[in-house]
Amino acid sequence: MSTSSNPATGAPKKNGIVEWIDYRLPIFTFMNHELREYPTPKNLNYWWNFGSLAGIVLVVMILSGIFLAMNYTAHVDHAFVSVERIMRDVNYGWLIRYIHMNGASMFFLVVYIHIFRGLYYGSYKPPRELLWWLGLVILILMMATAFLGYVLPWGQMSFWGATVITNLFSAIPLVGEPIVTWLWGGFSVDNPTLNRFFSLHYLLPFVIVGVVMLHLVALHTHGSNNPLGIDTKKNPKDSIPFHPYYTVKDMFGLGVFLVIYAAFVFFAPNFFGEPVNYVPANPLQTPSEIVPEWYLLPFYAILRSIPDKLAGVIAMFGAIFILFLLPWLDSSKVRSATFRPIYKQLFWIFLVDCIVLGWAGAQHPEGAPLLIGRLATAYYFLHFIVLLPLVSKFEKPRALPESISTPVLKTEKA
């Protein structure tokens, strides 16, 4: 982003070198177009901060990860010790590791808020279906990356988490067992597994960067959705340039976010972690309880609430894949829940349902928690397969405003 600009017009100042390059490779025109002029609805609220936040956290994860990798050893005999060496001996190693560990939790927090924002304001609806799909691909890649990363410190939870998750694939009929052996590169989670996990953990974040680029291309093709969910292209008064209005707002949001993130890194660095993962992996002894990181708990709850192995695995993956069908399950023409009285209630119930699933995923799967987990799982699918299609057919939405300016102008006249 070029900072030198004509204060009167906001257009970039003429600079010989910039012009020479731009004439041959129009990166400056491109950046000016996408990051300065980019017409943005003028009514975006703070829920629209989370996309750029997610991008920044991704960069933080890659940077901190690269520095961790300089001191990490992907070998069963050295992995745990190398992480402890990062914590004790490497200059600021503790800081870099805590940034990375808590960064993963922050990343999911930000992305989940980003997704629920999309659910509330109908951002998955035409013409943004592929934008939504690309976002879901990012979510899946993030889950894979976080799972692989969690194995690297080679603590008890790393080892047994890896064992349990890879064993999910054994549910596949006929080829399940060979697939698991292939994933492991052996007959249990062992050194070959750790090596390939490190390789992939290093690779996937860069794949995520690529998909994020596509996500942004799709976004900028039709522009951002907005709290009213109406098309803003028709009325030029509905848009303002991205810079300075949203750059400043994003920076402010970043400041608030960094305070929260830093509070965890410096004052509660192991808040999201499991103490057993500071015990070195022991292939002969499973810890008394296996729980995944918090951001995977709802899916874990769905897995455990179904008594059949194969059906449980299908339900767990189905819980993510059903999100791909959302643009067609919800056929209402109105995007924003602001104008959909019934969908708005469904949204909040669904949010609570996901939190309940997360809670259930952290409990022992027996008695009341198991029952609650089962009900919440049933409701999760009921929401998508039954309630949404029906509501989007029969609900009577409130009248939409012509443009963003209309309601404002009306009150001004009054």
């Binding site: 900072t3 204060p7 940077l63 901190s64 520095f67 300089m70 001191n71 060496r85 004790r88 001996d89 490497v90 200059n91 600021y92 190693g93 800081l95 870099i96 920076m251």
Partner: protein, 188 residues
């Protein structure tokens, strides 16, 4: 709303020329602040690439020199680098001490390079581009000055480890060391 705010910022301050508004000042101050913060945040990452505490802890090596007979040279490892320990004989010491300092590219007295005349302790890394000079083992070429010869680009060192001919700019470095007993030398 933003129109009027902008207008007052431009016109409300007498004495400020075109473009020098309170807003410009705020933008500059905020950018400078963020820049300073980013630079500070960068430091831990850069510093993490410096030697870690355990690496620094490896930085002394004790060597028992009692088995080294006169005329023998041995190599030990200190901080991952070879250190040459040479038990010099009378002839080699005399050779090193009789040289006229003005003949040397990097003048240094042998007395200043060896704490005890018969023991020469040096980092065995050529000061040209880091190869290990030959001469430690029996039968290896020792160059034209009876000390060491670097095969990479032909640097000749004398019996005090001083550069005499070839591209290397400096004498072989003498590491910090002390004799903790008559038969033990502690390097580092």
């Amino acid at each position: 709303m933003s129109e009027s705010a902008h207008a007052s910022a431009t016109h409300g301050q007498p004495g400020h020329g075109e473009g020098e508004t309170r807003r410009d000042f705020l933008a500059l101050a905020a950018t400078a602040f963020a820049g300073a913060g980013a630079a500070c945040a960068l430091w831990p990452f850069i510093d993490s690439m410096n030697p870690a505490a355990d690496t620094l802890a490896l930085s002394t090596t004790d060597v028992d020199i009692s088995p080294i007979a006169e005329g023998m040279r041995i190599t030990v490892k200190w901080r991952g680098k070879p250190v040459f320990i040479d038990h010099r004989n009378k002839e080699q010491i005399d050779q090193a001490r009789s040289v006229n300092l003005s003949e040397l590219p990097d003048p240094a007295k042998d007395e200043d390079r060896a704490q005890k005349a018969e023991w020469l302790v040096m980092v065995g890394v050529c000061t040209h581009l880091g190869c290990i000079p030959n001469g430690q083992k029996q039968g290896e070429p020792r160059g034209d000055f009876g000390g060491w010869f670097c095969p990479c680009h032909g640097s000749h060192y004398d019996t005090s480890g001083r550069i005499r001919r070839g591209p290397a700019p400096r004498n072989l470095d003498v590491p910090p060391y002390k004799f903790t007993t008559d038969t033990t030398v502690s390097i580092g």
